[in-house]
């Protein structure tokens, strides 16, 4: 028995919780068309929150990667050179009597500046 036409379509639901975040999948639902899928998504998944934006995507439009190293990166070899942790600048700055910087610090300063300024 094939999945017959007597079923609503399955839509995967993605939510963006606020503008600083990406859309994430929260589940799926059945709906007769995309308009209803959007209306249904609202009460199926967001009865207790106020999302920024919702996407509904027909499930059969999603192409998932096989769980296979041909598709999913596996970092078995040394890739430290591309990671912040791969660098030992802090003790070296110390020898120059200066403090190492971190990106978080810079970001924080910018945020504070934004708040304090303007």
């Amino acid at each position: 028995m094939a999945l017959n036409a007597a079923e609503y379509r399955v839509y995967e639901v993605f939510v963006q919780r606020d503008a600083s975040q990406f859309h994430v999948n929260v589940g799926s639902l059945r709906a007769v068309n995309s308009e209803m899928a959007l209306q249904m998504a609202r009460e199926t998944f967001f009865r207790r929150e106020e999302p920024c934006e919702v996407w509904v995507v027909p499930q059969d439009c999603i192409v998932a990667s096989p769980r296979d190293s041909a598709y999913l990166p596996v970092h078995t070899m040394d890739k430290q050179y591309r990671l912040p942790a791969g660098y030992d600048n802090a003790p070296r700055w110390k020898r120059f009597k200066a403090k190492a910087m971190t990106i978080e610090e810079v970001a924080e300063e910018m945020a504070t500046h934004k708040q304090g300024g303007a």
Binding site: M1, A2, L3, N4, A5, A6, E7, Y8, R9, V10, V26, G27, S28, L29, R30, V32, N33, S34, E35, M36, T44, R47, R48, A64, R67
Partner: protein
């Protein structure tokens, strides 16, 4: 790779604590156990809506009415989310929502014993929130470690919503316990009705074959008896604190082992009831589901033919 090798690799992943996703290869047996478990869980959520639904129009205050509406809605919502998982797992068998719902109406999938029972007073509606949801939270929290990741993820969401149900149920029960003599009697009556079904709810000490297999595949990780003990241990002191009687003289904690005693529910009678849908309210509640599903097939057919807003 042949089947045996694949299965061995699969089991190695499970034993390694890895999680399985919907599109991963899985042994037929694992798939079927998952479908059985999640399907039953899903339809039980849906059938669990009906005993409380009866009380929505009668809820005795505006706040109670809103909260009970929201709670029953959540139960249906949990049923929806769980059925979606069971539907995805059933895709290789060509079975979707319609087929899984038909299984319920035809008696091919069972729902929890507690939802076959009557809820004759407002206190029953409260005690369902208190004891039945309390029991369900224990079994669901024990499934959060499930090897099937989509189930574990969904349960996380469900358990979060159940915490509102727990607060709601406790609030109703507390109001009755603080109330008039009649309200307290009403509460005791409901506790008397729901205690034994709750002992049955967790299943027999000696678990059946499929429950054992679910442990093997780490679909579930705790035994029936462990869960029942946790339930008794949580709820007996609370009932006693409210001055309510636990309607079972054998409920006592063994000072040496710390194990709670209890009277065995009538396993044969209740198992028959669940298998045959022959409980006091089984047919009436199935009738409501039939009314929603079968008798409104015309609606679903109509919208699938609707030219307005047809999906391109």
């Amino acid at each position: 790779m042949d089947e045996a090798q694949k299965t061995a690799e699969f089991m190695a992943r499970i034993e390694n604590g890895e999680k399985i996703e919907a599109n991963d290869w899985m042994p037929e047996e694992y798939r079927n156990l998952l479908i059985k478990q999640i399907h039953m869980h899903g339809v039980s959520e849906i059938m669990g809506a009906y005993p409380e639904k009866e009380w929505v129009p009668k809820a005795p205050s505006i706040r109670r009415k809103l909260a009970l509406n929201a709670k029953v809605q959540d139960e249906i919502g949990h049923g929806q989310m769980l059925l979606r998982l069971a539907e995805d797992l059933s895709r290789p068998y060509g079975r979707g929502r319609e087929a899984l719902m038909e299984d319920l109406l035809n008696g091919h999938v069972k729902f929890h014993n507690v939802f076959h029972m009557p809820a004759p007073t407002w206190a029953d509606a409260g005690v369902i929130g208190f004891l039945v949801d309390g029991g369900a939270i224990i079994t669901q929290a024990a499934l959060l470690e499930s090897s099937y990741a989509p189930y574990a993820r969904m349960l996380k969401r469900i358990v979060a919503e159940e915490s509102f149900h727990m607060q709601y149920g406790e609030s109703v029960v507390l109001a009755l316990a603080e109330g008039t003599t009649r309200q307290r009697e009403m509460l005791q009556g409901a506790i008397d009705r729901w205690w034994e079904p709750m002992m049955f709810f967790f299943g027999p000490r000696q678990m059946g074959q499929s429950a054992e297999k679910m442990m093997h595949y780490r679909i579930r990780t705790k035994t029936n008896e462990e869960l029942r003990q946790k339930f008794i241990n949580r709820y007996v002191p609370r009932l006693q604190a409210l001055g309510m009687r636990v309607p079972d003289p054998l409920v006592k904690k063994d000072p040496v082992t710390g194990e709670w005693g209890y009277t065995e529910p009538d396993w044969v009678r209740d198992t028959e009831m669940v298998r045959n849908n022959s409980g006091p309210q089984s047919q009436a509640r199935l009738h409501l589901r039939r009314q929603a599903h079968s008798e409104q097939r015309w609606v679903r057919e109509a919208v699938m033919h609707a030219t307005a807003l047809a999906t391109v």
